[in-house]
Subunit: 448 residues, 2 copies
């Protein structure tokens, strides 16, 4: 563990988090970006940001040269400076110490920013935030979101590898004949029509005779013109597939995963959660609730029709308003289980006692966030797959390699895909999923 | 740590690796795929594969029912079976124990395979291997490659997170105006022309004011009709960018990364390396050699012209044959440093004392594998970027958001991109990079 690895000692021997009482007397060199600067008579206050956080430096006119004091008129926001000094104990500081500066110089002066990085009004700034995304990712709220996202990613991978899962890498460009559909982005593959993967379902199923338990945080694309707070066109799914797994075992995996991730974030990201007003995040109580689909549908109907004037819940799957209201009703994630066969993809396995019901499930986040994951038992019999494909009005020839694969050792298996950015949205509490992405892609956002 | 998490106890209470002397007397249930089956009079030998490896089960006719004995005529390769039995100590076994079977049943009988999974003749099988990739990934050689790849991925992430780097997620679909070029795959983005990212260079540079030290194992695409052993069209780069980093510090990061990854693989993948004939893999001696470009070019010219009849090394960059011969000359990875400015992208920073030389470098794998990574110091001055862009004959307006970003706190920085699959190819010793990918994409491979 060397947090300094990669930094040049010309610029940095310490991080802002190293300015502590324990290091009193050390010579320290820090570099970073100015977030606030204020002069008051013969004292100047500088806040400087680096990867570890923010440090306040107090500069007294008589401690530094005239030249340094004058250069501070160029201390605009986001200007990069370097400060050399001595660490001194100071009980007024949060860390119990301060850096007493001896040399300060400007590495790169910043022009006036086209957006206000300090404004907390995310909602009113929203268009500007994405127009200047290369700059707005430096807002304190964004930094907090992306630090939490980093920790969520690490916690997810840690969970899987420590429980004996193997990471897989599935293809992103697929032959257009494989799945087709209006919701896939088209790619010109050396003059052959191709698409970007909307799902890697078929591929992850193919890998279980190699590894049995597989996972990945894998890109997916959906060419859908949905302008909702939970849709982006380019996203990642936490993919999982388990040979000899069942609907019960994949629920256990998911609830332990969510438990681990939330615990990890609460342990490592206290300051970030506080900055985002997300101190109320709590570790879910296990086991999570399992609500059979008909019951969820009835509850969702009742709640949404009571909450939304004029809403009439349609037949079939839970509508978005019904899912949202049901989600608001709970403060822990919960499962909706046993979806009707007609509502699920052709690869979902049925209850052996009732072919109209699949052994499938969605994990739903609380607080109005809605669906996080979909999964279930898979069909592992090639003849049944042909039948199910025909029933869905599709041509089994299009999926020939996939269906035929089950002729060669089709083990029973189950799996799920959990939206990575949706998980980040829930944990960070951001109102729109695009805030959980550095450079999001939506029907309206393709640049930067 | 629960290696059983996700398995149904109907199918599995133990992995093949749990059949050990220490567990003598335990009742065990294992499930998996048959890799070999042989009957010899009143004794049958079954080899069964699961995620943990392969176990041999010896069945004596008088130990099991007549029905079970007869069912074994269906024990074709890749048939999925379940075996229940007792663990008994046996010094003849490698693990010091065997599973004494009491119940065996078939879960899914396999048809005759269209390819021979046991053949070691990768070269002659190569077309079939990729035609039936969903099956050939179960070859012992493939399983070894992908287990090593899993460990390489984990070691890479472990290295970065333990050294204070943050993981980033950059966009994959880019506006076509951003970079253009014949080597990018075109995407139809809601009727707007777009491309798949060939590089996330601009985006990773944008993230350093947020995190300073960033990394990711990030997909990239190159629409190049190169039919060489080191090219695929869809691949991953281990991306790194470091604020306040230099050419020296990114070399230190890379050599420590390679050292950590190789050490990790040697520790965790002994059996897999042996199966691949890669016992000769050794931990590189640090620091790695740094060879200035003119010296590397002269050596590469001499070596390739001596080794290859009729080869005449052209002017300019190292040709592939010269790079290959130079790479064969060493048994540890090495750096080529200080490339001429005219050979590098517009974002590479020059030596302050010589504008014709960039502070750039390639990491080259030994044993004829060639280039693993490219990187260097970046230009952080917007005016210099405009000038460099014009000199390369490109229009700076196309990169406006990128260039302008450096007006707002352009810290000095450096970084690199290291080909993930190339690293896997080198470590596993496979002859063609596509063998390092479960479902590779090349000009000739788009399915499955």
């Amino acid at each position: 563990m060397d947090t300094k690895l990669g930094y040049s000692s010309k610029y940095k021997t310490h991080l802002t988090s190293d300015i502590t009482k324990e290091r009193e007397g050390e010579e320290a060199l820090i570099s970073g970006w100015i977030t606030t600067f204020r002069k008051k008579g013969k004292i100047a206050f500088i806040k400087i940001r680096d990867a570890a956080g923010i440090a306040q430096i107090v500069v007294k006119k008589d401690q530094v040269s005239e030249e340094i004091w004058e250069s501070m008129s160029d201390f605009t926001m986001e200007t990069v400076i370097r400060i050399k000094g001595t660490i001194v104990a100071d009980d007024r500081s949060q860390t119990g110490a301060e850096l007493k500066p001896e040399l300060i110089d400007i590495i790169a002066k910043s022009d006036t920013l086209p957006i206000d990085l300090t404004s907390k009004k995310t909602e009113t700034l929203i268009d500007t935030i994405f127009e200047y995304r290369q700059l707005s990712i430096r807002r304190p709220e964004s930094i907090a979101i992306f630090k939490i996202k980093h920790h969520i990613g690490q916690a997810v991978r840690q969970f899987y590898t420590s429980n004996g899962f193997y990471e897989i890498w599935t293809p992103y460009i697929l032959g257009a004949s494989t799945e087709g559909g209006a919701e896939m982005f088209k790619v010109d593959y050396f003059n052959t029509p191709a698409v970007l993967a909307q799902s890697n379902q078929f591929y992850k199923q193919a890998t279980i005779p190699v590894f049995e338990k597989v996972f990945g945080i894998i890109p997916s694309w959906r060419a859908e013109k949905s302008r909702t707070p939970k849709h982006i066109t380019e996203f990642h799914q936490i993919e999982t597939e388990i040979a000899f797994g069942t609907d019960e075992t994949i629920m256990e995996v998911q609830e332990k995963l969510v438990h681990h991730v939330v615990s990890h974030v609460l342990e490592h990201c206290k300051a970030e959660l506080k900055l985002l007003g997300r101190e109320n995040l709590k570790i879910p109580t296990l086991p999570l609730k399992r609500i059979p689909f008909p019951e969820a549908k009835a509850m969702g109907t009742e709640l949404s029709e009571a909450a939304i004037d004029g809403h009439k819940e349609p037949e079939g799957d839970l509508s978005t308003p019904a899912e949202t209201e049901l989600s608001k009703h709970y403060d822990d994630p919960f499962f909706i289980i046993r979806f009707p066969t007609e509502l699920r993809g052709m690869y979902y396995g049925s209850d052996p006692d009732d072919e109209n019901i699949t052994l499938s499930l969605d994990l739903v986040a609380p607080e109005g966030i809605g669906e996080l994951s979909s999964g279930g038992v898979r069909v592992d019999d090639p003849d049944e797959l042909v039948e199910r494909t025909l029933k869905k009005g599709m041509d089994p020839e299009l999926f020939k390699w996939y269906i035929d694969m089950f002729k060669f050792g089709g083990a029973p298996h189950a799996g799920f895909g959990l939206g990575f950015e949706r998980l980040v949205r829930w944990i960070t509490g951001v109102s729109h999923i695009r805030e959980a992405v550095m450079f999001p892609r939506t029907p309206d956002l393709l640049e930067p």
